[in-house]
Structure formats: C-alpha cells, structure tokens
C-alpha cells in the first residue's frame, strides 16, 4: 500500500453521526432493521431515525437489561436489531443479557455502545467504559469492533446488519478525520493497514488510531523512522495473520486503545505474540488500572499519553 496523506478536513464527523445516517440509509430499503433505545435516541443521534422510521424504533425507557433482552427476542424472529445505549451501562449492567440472551442463544443483535471509552470525559467513571473489550472478549460468540473513522463506521454498520451472529460495536462522540483517502476493503476480523513501514508497528483501535497515525508521521518526519500503522477495528476475532506478518519484521510494536490496560487489544496482541514465539519489544498504551483522572476526553488522553506526542515518545523509547 502506498503512502497516503489523510486530510483531517475530509469527512470529519463523529462516528456516532455516521452510525445514525448509515442506519437510516439501511432502514429505508429494509423494513427488518429495528433500533432499540433506552432513552438514548438523543445521545445516539437517532432522533431523525425515529422521525423517519417510527415503526422501526422501539423505546424501552431507562432499562438496559430489558433493552438487550427485548432486542434478543426481536432478533430471534429475523429482525436486524441495533440495541443502542451508552457503552458504560450496556456492557456492565446488561452484561448477562449480552452473554445469555444474545451470545449464548445466538440471537444476532448488534449491541451498539455509544459514547464509549472516556467520551463522556468529565461525567466521571460511572460513564466511562474501559472494561467493555475485556468483558466481551471473554464471552463466546460476539464480535468486538471499534471503528476508527467515518469510513470504518459506515462499513462496520453495513457489515453488522448483514452478519448473522451477534456483534458489539462501540463509537465515540469526537469528530474523526479519515485515516486514509484510499478506497480500502473492510471486513470484520481483518485489520486495516493504514501505512506500511519496517522500523516499528502501531496497532491501535477506535479513536486512538488517529493519534497513533499522527505519532507515526511525527517519527518519520523527525526521526526518519517509518512505522506500520494498523487500525485493528476488530478486537475479537483478532487478525492473527496480519499480526504474524508484521511481527515477522521484528520491529518494536506499540498497541494503543481507549480501554483499561487489562484485557483489551494490547493484551490480546501480547497473548498471540507470546504464544507463537514472536518475541519483540512491546508496549501497551491504554488507561492504567487506577482511579481515572478527571477531565475531558482530551484531558484524559493527554494525561495518559494517548496523544501524538505521548505515543511517539513511548515508541521512540522502545526503539532505543
């Protein structure tokens, strides 16, 4: 793949908005698309959807367990269901419904965690979802997906609507630049290579792919180091073939995610590499296991070094 320059002014919308507009497009042609919300149509940018397709939106009120159970019942009849609620509540309060009613019963619900990670910033830890990858990775039969940009979001929603098994997708609120202007394919379980390089590898997911890509550009500009940058939008199943291919270069690898350092993308990659004898300098960049610092999403990212500068600095140390 050749070098591409992403233009931050192109399609800079919150992934949540793209989620909503994509769903509207799908619902226009497919009456089986049903959205289920828990007083979350506003935060899910779904008010226009509800106005346009009142027959295809179910409101359950603030009752997340019921949201997922009802969604599973709907999906069992052939509905293409998107159950939408803040990721923090959805993947904690309704975890058992996701486990039993969705995953175990194989009801193909698309579980949509909105305002994920620390998107709610200063609202505090009740509203953060830094556990969702870990919790859902340990449950059989549900994909775990965190699209990075508007392109991946639209592709992921279209793929989820057609996928016959459960999918978890999480979206943030921040406007996201396109990672690449190239037309690339999108497939669950296949990491997206944004750029290729031999000096180090960034494996990132969701809203941290952009700062990882910026860090890669900074290192190339300032240090002459050329990195491979992967948007690992599907955390489970992990794209092990891609990881093995880039790990074979022997270059240091840095993983980046808006999640607890425990149980997310980084540990998934570490587990694969270790168990396959792929030893290389390796660092997980994520939110540490502590009382999360208060502030906006940007403040929190800065505090924990999940920024262009912080990621570049960590990577540089690993290269020494």
């Amino acid at each position: 793949m050749g070098e591409t320059i992403a233009n931050p002014h192109v399609s800079e919308k919150p992934n949540l908005e793209v989620f909503s507009s994509t769903l509207q497009n799908l619902a226009h042609d497919d009456r089986q698309i049903v959205v289920v919300t828990s007083d979350s149509r506003g935060s899910g940018k779904l008010v226009p959807f509800g106005q346009k397709y009142p027959e295809q939106i179910i409101e359950v009120g603030i009752a997340e367990q019921n949201l997922v159970g009802v969604a599973a019942g709907l999906a069992s009849t052939g509905k293409k269901v998107f159950a939408v609620s803040p990721a923090c509540f959805l993947t904690a309060r309704s975890l058992e419904q996701i486990k039993a009613d969705v995953a175990y019963s194989d009801n193909p619900v698309n579980v949509i965690g909105i305002s994920a990670g620390v998107s709610y910033g200063a609202l505090g830890s009740t509203h953060h979802s830094l556990h969702d990858f870990a919790a859902l990775r340990a449950i059989n039969n549900i994909l775990v997906v965190a699209p990075a940009d508007n392109f991946e979001t639209e592709q992921a929603i279209r793929a989820a609507a057609a996928f016959p098994h459960p999918v978890y997708l999480r979206f943030g609120k921040k406007p996201m630049p396109l990672l690449s202007e190239e037309e690339t394919s999108f497939e669950f379980g296949k990491g997206r290579v944004i750029q290729e390089g031999d000096d180090l590898t960034f494996v990132a997911t969701g809203e941290t792919v952009w700062p990882a890509l910026q860090a890669a550009r900074k290192l190339e500009r300032e240090q002459g180091l050329r990195a491979t940058v992967i948007s690992m939008h599907t955390i489970k199943p992990l794209d092990e073939n891609l990881l093995a291919r880039v790990a074979a270069k022997g270059a240091p690898m840095v993983t980046v995610e808006e999640h607890s350092v425990y149980g997310g993308l980084g540990e998934a990659c570490a587990s694969f590499l270790m168990q396959n004898g792929l030893a290389l300098p390796f660092k997980i960049m994520a939110i540490p296991d502590e009382y999360t610092v208060t502030g906006s999403q940007g403040d929190i990212f800065r505090h924990y070094g999940l920024t262009e500068e912080g990621i570049a600095e960590t990577a540089l140390q690993l290269c020494k």
């Binding site: 179910i58 159970g69 058992e96 039993a100």
Partner: protein, 277 residues
C-alpha cells in the same frame, strides 16, 4: 390441533410425571419439585393451546414458548418428546457428557426457542418476540413460564412495564406459583405478594388458576387475551413435587433425586393414579 378433554390431559400428565422421574432418576440429576409443579401447565399449553409442532416449528407464524424458569427443563423435555420434537430415547443422555439435554433449555434441542437458565430473562425475551409479531402484523402468541422464586429479579419488572406500554395482548406470562424456592417459602425469602396487584398496577390483566386443574387451565387459556391491548398474566397456584406424596411441598425435592426405594414408591403411586383415571 385436536383439543383434549380434561381427563385425557390428566392421563397425559401422569405419563409425563412418570417420565420426568424416570429420566431424573437415571441421570441422578434434575429439578424434580419444580418440574412436577409446572408439568400440568406445559401439558395444557402444548396439547390444547399453542399452535406449535415439529411440522410448523420453522414457520414465522408458530406460537412461541419461552421457559424463564429454565431449571424445570425436565418437564419441558418430556412434553417436547411427546409432541414428536425428538425421540424420547434421547432423554437417556440427560446431563451426560456431550448431551444437548442438559439441566437448562438450549436451542440445540429441537423445539426449544431460547437458551435460558439465568433467572429473570424469559419475560424480556418474550416481550421482544411479541413486539416483533405486532411490528410484522402476525397473529402468533408468546407464552412464558416464570417461577415465583425468580420474581425479585428486577429485569422482570422492566419487562412487565414495557409489555403494558406496547399493549402486548399477544403475550401471556404464567407464574408457576408453588410458593417454595431453594431457601424456603418465597414469602419468607423476599416476599413478592401480592403478585396480582403488582402486575395489575403495571398494566396487566391477571387471572388466578389452580395450576393442576385441567378444566380451569383450559378455560383460562381459552379466554386469552384477558383484555384487549393488555398483556395477560396467569398466576397458576401449584404444588412443588405435585403427584408424589412424599415430595409435595417438601423443600428438599427442589433438586432432590430419588433413591431406588423412593423411585419405586413414586412410580407405584403414579400407577395407582393412572388406574384411577
């Protein structure tokens, strides 16, 4: 479906009870008391009420049954076997290594709609399924069986609210009200009485029935929906361990397995009952 007389249903139930005990005794595992309390309800539903069979099980128009109190699965297994969903001999593998016939319902068993086992899930699943019928303008009905012991699960009440909100008169929940749970009488553990007033306040239409009286069960289910635009609740008053003298209302039979002597006695009691019918 050929409707059955109360007497024919009663004969079937004796047969079902013999089989429930046979397979639990053979597996050395199972929820005996609850299976014996709910089997008459299942008998009437499958033989007299629901439009569901092995032949129409793939049809989107079939009636659905979702067992929220999944642990009483042995009753469901013998009824489904009798309906022809699978050979009864499959039940010889009950709870054995690699058997699909485990201690809670799973869709790997033909005739089962949802995997259940964790309590407080069946009602929300049923609400979603009934909602889909309304969205698609289909006439099927959804039945779900809850235990009284699972009523403190808050998810039930979330689902109860929504069923009324969406006017799901195609939904019928049945509570197997045997008044005992594993720790003791339900009223002493976390009292949910009055169940009827609570559900009525939530917007449901409620009827009480003797859960072992076939004529009453038939009549009750024939009168569904109890009121248009409202979900229906049947509070079925039952006896845990019903039909076996030494098991009735005895807590230890929640998941007790009979000894050889107890098994013989239980089968003999059912033989006597059968002859009397």
């Amino acid at each position: 479906m050929t409707l059955m007389t109360p007497k024919e249903l009663a004969r079937k139930s004796v047969d079902y009870r013999k089989k429930i005990l046979k397979y639990i005794y053979s597996a050395k595992a199972g929820h005996t008391g609850g299976s014996l309390s709910c089997v008459d309800i299942l008998n009437v539903l499958y033989n007299d009420v629901m439009q569901v069979s092995p032949e129409n099980f793939a049809s989107p128009d079939r009636d659905r049954y979702i067992q929220s109190k999944g642990h009483s699965v042995e009753a469901l297994y013998v009824v489904l076997a009798d309906q022809g969903f699978f050979p009864e001999s499959d039940l010889e593998t009950l709870c054995q290594y690699q058997s699909h016939y485990i201690g809670h319902p799973t869709k790997k068993v033909n005739g089962i709609e949802q995997n259940t086992g964790s309590l407080g899930h069946g009602l929300a699943l049923s609400v979603g399924t009934a909602l889909a019928a309304k969205l698609d303008k289909r006439d099927y009905r959804v039945f779900t069986l809850l235990g009284d012991g699972e009523l403190p699960e808050g998810s039930n009440w979330e689902a109860a609210l929504l069923a009324a909100q969406y006017k799901l008169d195609n939904l019928c929940a049945i509570i197997d009200h045997n008044k005992l749970q594993i720790t003791g009488p339900t009223c002493d553990v976390c009292n949910t009485d009055p169940i009827d007033a609570k559900f009525e306040a939530f917007g449901w239409e409620v009827k009480h029935v003797d859960g072992h009286d076939f004529a009453q069960l038939k009549e009750t289910f024939q009168s569904l929906p109890f009121q248009g635009e409202k979900p229906s609740l049947v509070i079925a008053h039952t006896i845990k361990g019903r039909g076996i003298s030494f098991m009735e209302n005895q807590l230890k039979w929640h998941h007790g397995v009979p000894s050889p002597e107890q098994y013989e006695q239980a089968q003999e009691e059912l033989n006597v009952l059968s002859e009397a019918l």
